[in-house]
Symmetry: D2
């Protein structure tokens, strides 16, 4: 480098400037080159650590939640499963409560096993059971309480990294203790009573949340919707996403869009012996195996997976899944995958792309 | 009138002109003065005439449908229940078929009693049973067939008058006979298998209809949604429209809006002994009593009503309903009202208003 | 007809019922069959009658406006240029005022010749000059005053028939006299100062009108936009609608959509010797020749037209225009057409169609 | 820490997990705590360095652009003016060309002084002159060429950091050399001829860009719009944002929204001696002083500023500006500020907030 050029670069440094020409490749690659890696977390590793945390770490103010986040190995030790998404296992001991708070981060819970916790959103106690998906848009008050004599684990998904990097997050503490009326353990939440009927909206209430007013998507409905698609395929009709691959999106009954402004949630079912087409898209996804077993490929990685295992698909990495082959064509032997992603961000900003 | 003015008016006539100053009161009133009258049609009059038509009038090409329209007494004998809406009773004899056609008029069927007919929309046979609401957006092929050994009646609602006065209607004949595959009598339509799960959308299909892809809103869901609202009221929570008055709107799961671009459909349930607040709005509504008994007021008219009775509420006329008082507070003794209206037209064009 | 059938039809009549099978052809034709006729009104007939009305008929409360409406010859003498649209010539004598009122009917003014009247909308005096288009959404207070010593004529377009048939209209009288401050005669309206700069929106104000906040679209801009399109065509670039045919739509700067919820307005310019492709669409249009001469065809009618002539194109009738051929290719020798239509109604309700 | 807890934390590390309870304060603060600092870059420092780069660094493939980015002192030396935005000074020598490329990053140019460069977007040469704002949505081909015998500088704004952190960016090289036809130097771009007329949209073309089709917002219009607001204030009418403070937003004529999906651009004018109310909002802004002088405060920093100076307002930091006081009330002595921000991101995702 000539002395003149060196002098110029020193001038840049002094004045807090950086030339584009030394940076363009990293900043403006020909396609997304994710800083995150594909990675798998096994349920058999996650759950015992959560149980141990249940014994050793109190829940409550300060900690607020006993949540343990998946940290992508390529993101510098930060609790980010991808550059935009947070995924954690949360654990509540018998009789414990997580105190009330609210935040702008959009969140959901998904239950891979167990039951007995009620999440109390806007004073409405919502039961959590295996297969239930419980979205909760930003700035709603919420607490949890375990009403049983056994501990319970579930997963949380949030847009914490996205709001952290874009700096849009607010947080408030609520009441230390929820009221007795909120400690009840109804079979159905009030939100489900109002919004859980297909194609029917109550005329008398207008929720103000930026996300879905339906606070629980019950497993029985998700399971039926997936079975119905495979049944239609068997009868020769349209409905599945591709052969042997049923899929539903959780949607907001108020506008038919995604349940949360920044998070999309879906459920995929592969019939026994089926395989999905490799597909990539802008933005990242996290999957949890809900049932069955098979193998999944993310970029150049391939893993055998079974119930509870979680993995991340970074931006623009190919993903495909394959359910275990079997001797019968029973659906129950297939592979059930819960998925969430940051796709609504990119769709809202005209940045979404996908390819096969 | 001076000779000069007479001469001027003759000039207007000769040149196909009309002065505003002689017309303004009628054209631009201080509020809507409907050309239609409030009117009641009793089911006990409608059904026997429909039955008689079933015996005497063949269905098929030419007639296309054995539908008998409610003609508002103030609209000059035209088959318009209001200036924008069509309401008719349709009747199909055992084994009969209504041939396939399609039209831009948006339509629905509602079943106040009986079962046994399948409406075949886009080759998908959709069962019709008491309480079911079956919307069908314009330009979808559709036929009906009665698969049983008894006749069946139901009501049709369409925007025929609106499209007639605005001149936007298209119509096409389809196949004379539907295929054997379409003559099956499944318990659930394919549309219900794909779109009938609360908050869940299939990822693999994207319907192209301008209205809802869900072709039947089953009574069991409507009934539960209304009961749940009254149950929430009993428990002290929000949900009902006003005390003792539960109400749901039928919505399009794709966008959360009305089921059809020009027609809104709702179901109202008044707890026994309840009364709704008089309310008026721009545009007209038609009601059918689904169950129970009580009285309704439209403008200055008041009628006692019971199952099957239909009536029209013209634009800007006050409407209220009152269910029969009873000795118990059982819901079953209340008043169930199905309603449809032209409100989406006015909301889309920033012309909607309502008042109490 | 058999006695039984006669009895059935008598039953229908008694109970205010009409069978579909006797009516379907007229109500549900294979494509729109307009009740309106194509018709031409010559400016040389319109203007003298308006002038004579100026001499004989006072303006003011009661009459409200000295407006003379075009009455389609096939619409029964009603002042409807088409089933949905109103078009009128309005005339104001020197020093006269039209008192303030407001109504839900959406309206505009267009000036084919002259100047000197200010329309005062929401207390903002808006000048009117040849070529200016002045939209004004429903429910804005408005008055007019002629500030000069000569009379002035212009045309009004409104959705009076649409609101009349759908029964959505409200009307209120305002002040008898506007204030001195509103009698000023500024070169530019305040609305133009705020909203008349291309691609620039004021941050400090948010208008509440359902239509455009820009109350005048000045001729100089319309003229330039059309000339620019023809210039681009000459240079070999895209821009015109079809060869020799430039066209712009007047749009709402707040959302880029039509200026009024129910009315679309456009300006078309045919280069000398050009001809537009016959085209039909759902809904009706009214044209006024702004400049030049040529011939126009509507359905099976063809007329020679020149400045000020007005004509109506009913729903689904073919329309084409042809400018006079000339020896030079100067634009000034072409044909300039102002057009308004009811297209936004059909687009909002998924009923729009067009064809060539 | 107990040995058991230490063991638990080692387990977390081994399995790529991080507990929320040690991180929550930083990740979920009570309000945004920006990682970026308020910072000022003086034009008197920026321009000489850009000129020196013009002499020493070639432009062309590899470097692509001679752009020098503002690097926020608290963002680790990365070329990010804020966590989401890129701001740079770009410099082109006489006769130089920047080769054609395209990228998903949304971009604009703004000219604080000079002229002579044409940016060629989609083969349309667009002149750049003092005060012009030139937005260009992602994935449009673009090049630049300096058609004069003097160098020219301008600023670029892009969403490079946002797309870098969310991993949504694509990039493609185009032609090495643009054609002779694109090297012309028209007074107005074709985009301006089509889209630069207030409230008028061409009917014959439908652009496919996700941003505005208007590629240059000319200074003469921006200047008039701001002057008109101050003139209205003087006359006692609404229009300014607050006393002495005029402001316009650059908008997309197709939908009235922001010019780019991720970037908002505005122009603010403070009358001589005026001061704006301190205001904070979610997301970051960058300002450039276009004319006049005064002082600005960002958080706890206050700087005197004059033409060309640039500064950044991090998320949720208070900002206010004050123009120099003077003896006359001439507008020319005030303070003119160009601003861009990432607000559309937060508005699209229901995360926007602001406060005073």
């Amino acid at each position: 480098m000539s002395p003149e050029l060196e002098e110029l670069y020193r001038g840049f440094e002094r004045e807090m400037l950086v030339p584009l020409w030394t940076e363009i490749g990293g900043l403006m690659p020909s396609h997304p080159q994710s800083k995150a890696s594909p990675h798998l977390w096994r349920w058999s590793d996650l759950l015992p650590l959560a149980q141990r945390a249940g014994e050793l770490v109190p829940v409550g103010r300060g900690g607020e939640r006993r949540a343990i986040a998946l940290a992508n190995p390529s993101l510098g030790g930060r609790p980010f499963v991808s550059p935009t998404l947070w995924a954690a296992i949360q654990y509540l001991m018998p009789g414990e409560n997580a105190p009330e708070h609210r935040h702008t981060q959009h969140a959901f819970r998904f239950v891979v096993e167990g039951e007995g916790v009620w999440t109390v959103v806007g004073r409405d106690p919502v039961p959590m059971r295996r297969g239930d998906f419980l979205p909760q848009a930003g700035w709603n008050w919420h607490a949890h309480h375990n009403a049983t004599d056994h501990p319970m684990a579930w997963i949380d998904g949030l847009d914490i990294p996205f709001q952290y990097v874009t700096e849009s997050q607010f947080f408030e503490f609520g009441r230390e203790e929820i009221s007795d009326a909120e400690r009840t353990t109804p079979e159905r939440s009030r939100s489900q009573m109002l919004w859980g009927h297909p194609g029917l909206s109550p005329i008398g209430t207008r929720p103000e949340t930026p996300g879905t007013p339906l606070l629980s998507y019950r497993w029985e409905h998700t399971d039926s919707a997936l079975s119905d698609q495979l049944e239609l395929e068997r009868l020769g009709f349209d409905g599945v996403m591709e052969p042997g691959h049923a899929a539903v999106r959780f949607t907001n009954p108020i506008n038919g869009g995604d349940v949360l402004p920044t998070i999309r949630a879906e459920f995929h079912r592969l019939r026994r012996g089926s395989e999905s087409t490799p597909r990539r898209e802008v933005g990242s996804s996290v999957y949890q195996v809900f049932d069955g077993s098979g193998s999944v490929s993310v970029g150049t990685e391939t893993w055998s997976v079974s119930r509870g295992d979680m993995f991340v698909v970074p931006s623009w990495k190919d993903f495909s899944a394959k359910s275990e082959a079997g001797t019968t064509d029973s659906d129950s032997g297939g592979l059930d995958l819960f998925r969430f992603s940051d796709a609504p961000i990119f769709e809202a900003l005209a940045l979404h792309r996908s390819g096969t």
